[in-house]
């Protein structure tokens, strides 16, 4: 791309000799300029209308009392101060963060280890990779339905297995900790293999000499993992954590389907597993409070930012320790 070879111009049009110097790479012909913008415009137009505009407009809506029919009145930051004193909001925030930590930490750790295994010399490499990716192609709705059956109180497989080690049947939906655990299990099941493949891709770019040298020095697998794999994969770990954060803070489908019944959106009788997106949905489409729900959306945006920055800082520190 940085060579002097000229890219295509429009038919019959030759670029002026002045443009043909060694700096020709800086600017294209007029035809190229036009075609360039024309070719990228569908992406930018659609994204502007259906992605960016709604996101920004959410802030405007959050400054109003705004109902389903569009009737609105300006309240300034009133929704925000109301939200800060809203117990249900804090409850949803705690649930979301709790489930997020419970699901993301083991998920990424196991994925790293799994990537290490998949990077070994293996027969039928593609088959093993497909094996770990299988859960990820299962729709979230299907995951929610299947696992809710596995976690059923009286005849679920999980309680039956736990019964063998003397644990009494658990009503998984009933308690905060147990519902968090069950929902995290669904998230982990669906995403661990996906992340393992992301890590595997990065692992393949790590020079094998590093491992060979470590082996000659007699380093154990665990210490190779700690001192080569983790440091070399740090950018990918940051990326995977960020993606997991964005997804985790917006968790919705698994907890929704975990609580089949009339009030699925409240996440249990005492909101023990209602997440932020569920609360947003409840405010907007059950309570018809578009303004207040938009406030929840912006707070979620803030939470994602804070968690993402905290993650990045934490991972930067890790390097110092390792």
């Amino acid at each position: 791309m940085t060579t002097a070879t000229a890219p295509p111009g429009r038919a019959g049009r030759t670029a002026g000799p002045a443009r043909r110097g060694p700096r020709a790479g800086a600017r294209g012909t007029r035809g190229e300029q036009v075609a360039g913008y024309a070719f990228i415009s569908p992406f930018f137009l659609v994204f502007a209308v259906f992605g960016l505009f709604p996101l920004l407009f959410t802030f405007w809506v959050s400054l109003h009392d705004w109902d389903l029919l569009g009737t609105r009145s300006w309240v300034g930051l009133g929704n925000y101060s109301a939200l800060l004193e809203d117990e249900d909001f804090w409850n949803a925030l705690v649930n979301t963060l709790g489930i997020f930590v419970l699901s993301t930490v083991p998920q990424l750790l196991v994925a790293l280890a799994l990537a290490q295994l998949l990077n070994q010399r293996l027969r039928a490499r593609t088959l093993w990779r497909m094996g770990v990716l299988l859960p990820n192609i299962t729709s979230i709705a299907a995951v929610g339905i299947i696992f809710t059956l596995l976690f059923a109180r009286d005849f679920g497989l999980v309680n039956w297995l736990l019964g063998h080690v003397g644990v009494d049947p658990i009503t998984w939906q009933e308690h905060r900790w147990s519902s968090w655990l069950a929902i995290s299990t669904m998230v982990d099941w669906r995403w661990t293999g996906y992340n393992a493949l992301i890590f595997l891709a990065a692992l393949q770019a790590v020079p094998r000499e590093l491992y060979e040298a470590a082996q000659i020095d007699g380093a154990s697998a665990v210490s190779q993992f700690r001192h080569i794999t983790v440091p070399m994969l740090r950018p990918t770990i940051v990326f995977a954590t960020l993606v997991a954060t964005i997804g985790g803070i917006q968790l919705f489908t698994e907890p929704l389907l975990f609580n089949s019944g009339a009030n699925a959106i409240t996440g249990g009788t005492t909101r023990q597993f209602q997440t932020l997106t569920m609360y947003l949905y409840e405010q907007a489409f059950t309570g018809q409070e578009f303004g207040y729900a938009s406030t929840v959306a912006w707070m979620m945006f803030l939470v994602i930012l804070v968690v993402a920055v905290a993650n990045a800082l934490l991972l930067r520190r890790l390097r110092g320790v390792g």
């Binding site: 060579t3 000229a6 890219p7 295509p8 038919a11 019959g12 035809g31 300029q33 075609a35 360039g36 070719f39 990228i40 569908p42 992406f43 259906f50 992605g51 709604p54 996101l55 407009f57 959410t58 799994l114 295994l117 998949l118 990077n119 010399r121 490499r125 497909m130 094996g131 770990v132 990716l133 299988l134 859960p135 192609i137 729709s139 979230i140 709705a141 299907a142 339905i145 299947i146 005849f155 039956w160 493949l197 595997l200 891709a201 990065a202 692992l203 094998r208 491992y211 060979e212 470590a214 990326f239 803070i249 917006q250 489908t253 929704l256 089949s260 907007a284 578009f290 959306a297 945006f301």
Partner: protein, 298 residues
């Protein structure tokens, strides 16, 4: 062997596989790596297997203790019950999902090829910052804008209809980026120069010269996009009405407490997962390659 395979079937991932640290192979028995991976695969597959078991048994069996672990003989009966249940409208949901996912996939692939080609090969002012913006869109939780999006769909009179779940997803930042990376490595400048000298316009060059080269990567993007759209839940659940279900919203309705017939619910879930399972079995190699390619560059 790898080289041969790649010639026959140019996958997106072309980088040579970095082999594992050399380690003396065990001659006897199975390596611990394989044992662990086999266990992981069992954990991966079990919930799906369990779904098939439950979908193939009479409803009464679902509540038996211990839970049944082998398939029964009622699979066809249960599938038939789902498909013939007019209230659930599962057949219509499948058609809707195919339509929505299909249209979105074709658009995403076309627009991504166009933009990917432009970002890789055409020189225009602001190219780098605009590409940076595309990358940023992959990191923005656009889902948080769903209230104004709903208001917008109300204004456009699209609430409840299929275009409402299609239009916002006809482009993808990930797709643009994936195709751009592929054009950079797979389309030599000489090829474009030759087309230009033959008098081809940029559009003609794109259509007749570039697009055929992009086919393998476009296929991968199509697979990933189709799966993502097929599995989408929150927005369709919010904006579609009962007369326009997708497979996922039909599933949630099926499981949403209106029915206590778990065999029916599991048969429906199986039907919803099946198309993607088939796609995955046929194109697993390409899908794995696409996900790994998408992750490494980001």
């Amino acid at each position: 062997m790898t080289a041969q395979l790649e010639r026959v079937e140019p996958a997106v991932v072309r980088r040579p596989e970095a082999p594992a640290p050399a380690r003396p192979r065990r001659r006897l028995g199975v390596s611990p790596t394989v044992v662990v991976l086999a266990l992981v695969t069992v954990v991966s597959a079990f919930p799906l297997y369990f779904m098939v078991v439950m979908a193939s048994r009479p409803n009464g069996d679902i509540t038996s203790v211990p839970p049944p672990l082998t398939p029964g003989g009622d699979l066809w009966t249960n599938l038939d019950r789902v498909l013939s249940n007019a209230d659930v409208g599962f057949g219509r949901a499948v058609v809707n999902s195919l339509l929505v996912s299909g249209v979105a996939t074709v658009c995403v692939v076309l627009f991504s090829c166009l933009a990917g080609f432009a970002f890789a090969k055409l020189r225009f002012v602001g190219r780098q910052p605009l590409l940076g913006f595309v990358l940023l869109t992959m990191m923005v939780p656009v889902q948080l804008g769903l209230i104004p999006l709903y208001m917008l769909m109300t204004k456009l009179h699209l609430v409840g209809t299929l275009p409402a779940v299609t239009l916002p997803f006809v482009v993808s930042g990930f797709g643009v980026f994936l195709m751009r990376q592929f054009v950079v490595q797979a389309v030599p400048d000489e090829l474009l120069e030759a087309a230009r000298l033959d008098g081809a316009s940029i559009l003609q060059t794109f259509w007749y010269v570039v697009l055929p080269v992009l086919r393998p990567a476009a296929a991968v993007l199509a697979l990933l996009t189709f799966m993502e759209r097929w599995n989408d839940f929150l927005w369709p659940y919010l904006v579609l009405d009962l007369d326009h279900p997708t497979v996922q919203t039909a599933l949630s309705r099926l499981a949403g407490g209106y029915y206590t017939d778990q065999a029916l619910v599991m048969a429906g879930t199986l039907l919803g997962v099946l198309p993607l399972l088939v796609v995955f079995l046929l194109f697993g190699r390409q899908i794995v390659g696409g996900i790994m390619e998408g992750g490494i560059k980001s």
